[in-house]
Amino acid sequence: MPLTLIRTAWTLPSVLLALMVVLVAGSAAEAQGLKVGILHIGSMADGGYNQAHAEGIQAMKRNLPGVEVIEVENVPEGADAERVMENMAKQGAKLIVAASFGYLEPALRVAAKYPDVKFFHPGGYKRAPNLTTYWASTPEAFYLMGMAAGRATKTNKLGYVVALPISFFLANINAFELGARAVNPKAETRVVFTGTFLDPAKEATAANALLDQGVDVLGVIVDSPITVVQTAEKRNAYSIGYHSLGAQKFAPKGWIGGIAFTWGNLYTRFARQVADGAFKSENILGGLADDYLTLAPFGAAVPADAVALVNAKKQEFIAGTTQVFAGPLKDNRGMERVKAGAAFPLTDLGKMDWLVEGVIGQSR
């Protein structure tokens, strides 16, 4: 073979090889300090679910300056999530936050392969020796929002734009309606499921559809609350935010309240746990009393006496003297779901696949 051909044929691979050696050598001399990986299902700037997690990690970084973070957005569930997590583990991450419901299976698989890496999964229902699940139980907060909405509404029609009929979301809506009913017996809640966690066009259409039906308070459970809150504001309706405190600025006039996840301190605690070797697998279910569930300040639309009522109820929940899903409760098809004197436990929300009386919509 001619010399030139050999030279050209071998040049590129040699260069690549050299670069790879440098890369490997470089990565071997990695920095001290904990490496944390987090993967998001959507964009970190969505003003909602993903942003809340991202802000939590940022807060953790601020509290623990020595920590290094590998952050990836828009990772689809399934095989890609698994690959990303494996790559993080290979890059030396010792703590991985798999920040989407659908990452549970991939996380469990990677956790089995890397027993010395600790995994944290929000909203999961299965654990492993090195995988902890955590969530803030939101129904109580939704109940409080329902109370505020029930007082603010003028048409007695409340509405929710929700991604999917997942049990946790159904529980939230049920709690909302129960709270609204408690202050306003005529309040009804209509639910529209968009079928996906993020589709602004569909969310806008769904919001408008609800408003066309006379709804004047709109709540939202999708990845980003911005579209629905904006649509409500445009049509002079009230709105309730979710996921992130930032949603309030989109609805200066119609803001009622909101529920936000403020993961910062929790993530800091996780990081300390792993760094100190004090990790133990558990299922963390927080609530109103914890610092990762925050209620946004109420808007001007909620009268002062209503705010007082809500705060009183909040204390009752925290003290444990009231239950959100206290019986008797019937679902919206007339079947009795919770007997008088009993209460649906908040730890069993995974099994709640029905909507309470007063909610107009289907759970399947």
């Binding site: 690549l16 670069l19 790879m20 890369l23 590998i70 990836v72 957005e73 828009n74 990772v75 689809p76 569930e77 399934g78 095989a79 890609d80 698994e82 690959r83 990303v84 494996e86 790559n87 993080m88 290979k90 890059q91 419901f101 659908g102 299976e105 392969k113 229902y125 999917l164 009929p165 997942i166 049990s167 946790f168 159904l170 079928g195 929300l349 995974g350 099994k351 696949d353 759970s363 399947r364």
Partner: protein, 345 residues
């Protein structure tokens, strides 16, 4: 660009074919580097990351093979009907229906041992995709609808059908009402190679390519297909059953895409859920086209695109570039190839 004459030595023909892929690929890499630079990103680091992560380790290489598997199948799914100039853009839908059929098998017969269940699921996957392609083939054979349009429309029906079953009748009773089916029994999962995720599907894909090459070039059917491809009217006048080929090839092509669906759902996902395919059907079309329907070319192009798409994850992790940017690289490679081959039909 016409193929070199038969009398040319094998070496020259191979070198010509290689350059016809390598030079555009190289040009594309330069253009993509330009795009990255325009957005303030470091192209050298990006390429090192992409190739390093996909080729530089056993794990990375295995992941590339995993990504390549469905692409090979969907590409052959396009290449086979393309022998008689049928345009199958329905790989996506056929993949989904194949996955649905295979899921039915896994859920209904989960108690069967693997050596019974897996071949059953393979057959079901092939059947599902095949039937989906068959419908388009029938519509075309009867002269009613062009298969380009029908397969395209049927993609949507297929995707929505999957949504219907995972939200409704097949929803996992243990899964907090989340849209996915119950987990498959272990006997319904395709075996993997060692610790990697490379699974039997790769063997199926290679088998498909091999059979395709064999049938196309060494059997009577291959000859008849070429005759129809050359001049369908003349072939019909000479008594060749063109309609039957239309229907049959769409069935086989669809079946292979359905196999890809079965593999994804069995080996990779372990259950059926909405996020099944990130466009494998369409990518398969592009691969088949890039390789001009040539079996070995399909393997090469599938490998190349697997490297590119798998590399997207790394870019995100190391450079904060959105993962879908690799779509640009893929598109640019294609643009360059398209731009240098005038006169394709």
């Amino acid at each position: 660009m016409t193929a070199p004459p038969e009398s040319a030595t094998l070496g020259i023909a191979w070198r010509a074919r290689l350059t016809s892929i390598a030079t555009p690929a190289g040009l594309a890499l330069v253009m993509f580097a330009g795009v990255l630079l325009a957005f303030g990103k470091n192209p050298i680091k990006a390429y090192v990351d992409i190739f390093g992560s996909t080729l530089g380790s056993a794990y990375g290489f295995s992941e590339t093979l995993v990504k390549m598997t469905p692409l090979v199948l969907t590409a052959v799914a396009v290449a086979i009907p393309a022998k008689i100039w049928l345009i199958n853009v329905g790989g996506e839908g056929q993949l989904y229906i194949g996955a649905i059929f295979a899921t039915w098998g896994a859920l209904t017969f989960g108690h069967l041992p693997a050596w019974l269940l897996l071949p059953l699921m393979v057959a079901l996957g092939f059947l599902g995709g095949g039937l989906w392609g068959l419908v388009a083939g029938l519509l075309r054979a009867r002269g009613w609808v062009s298969e380009t349009i029908s397969t395209l429309l049927m993609n949507y029906v297929a995707i929505l059908s999957l949504n219907y079953v995972v939200f409704g009748p097949w929803k996992d009773p243990e899964g907090v009402n989340y849209p996915q089916t119950a987990e498959f029994a272990p006997s319904a999962i395709l075996p993997v190679l060692g610790q990697s995720r490379v699974h039997l599907g790769l063997a199926l894909g290679l088998l498909a390519v091999g059979l395709f090459a064999f049938f196309a070039s060494r059997t009577r059917w291959g000859l008849e297909m070429r005759a129809i491809g050359g001049n369908a009217d003349a072939a019909r006048r000479n008594g060749l059953p063109v309609g039957r080929y239309v229907i049959g090839l769409m069935f086989i092509g669809g079946g292979l895409a359905g196999l890809a669906g079965m593999c994804e759902v069995s080996a990779i996902q372990g259950r059926l859920r909405p996020s099944l395919s990130p466009g494998y059907g369409y990518t398969g079309f592009l691969i088949s086209w890039m390789a001009s329907g040539h079996p070995l070319g399909i393997l090469g192009a599938a490998f190349l695109l697997a490297v590119v798409t798998a590399g997207g994850d790394i870019l995100q992790m190391t450079q904060a570039i959105p993962g879908s940017v690799v779509n640009i690289l893929m598109a640019v490679i294609l643009f360059v190839i398209l731009g240098r081959r005038p006169g394709e039909r």
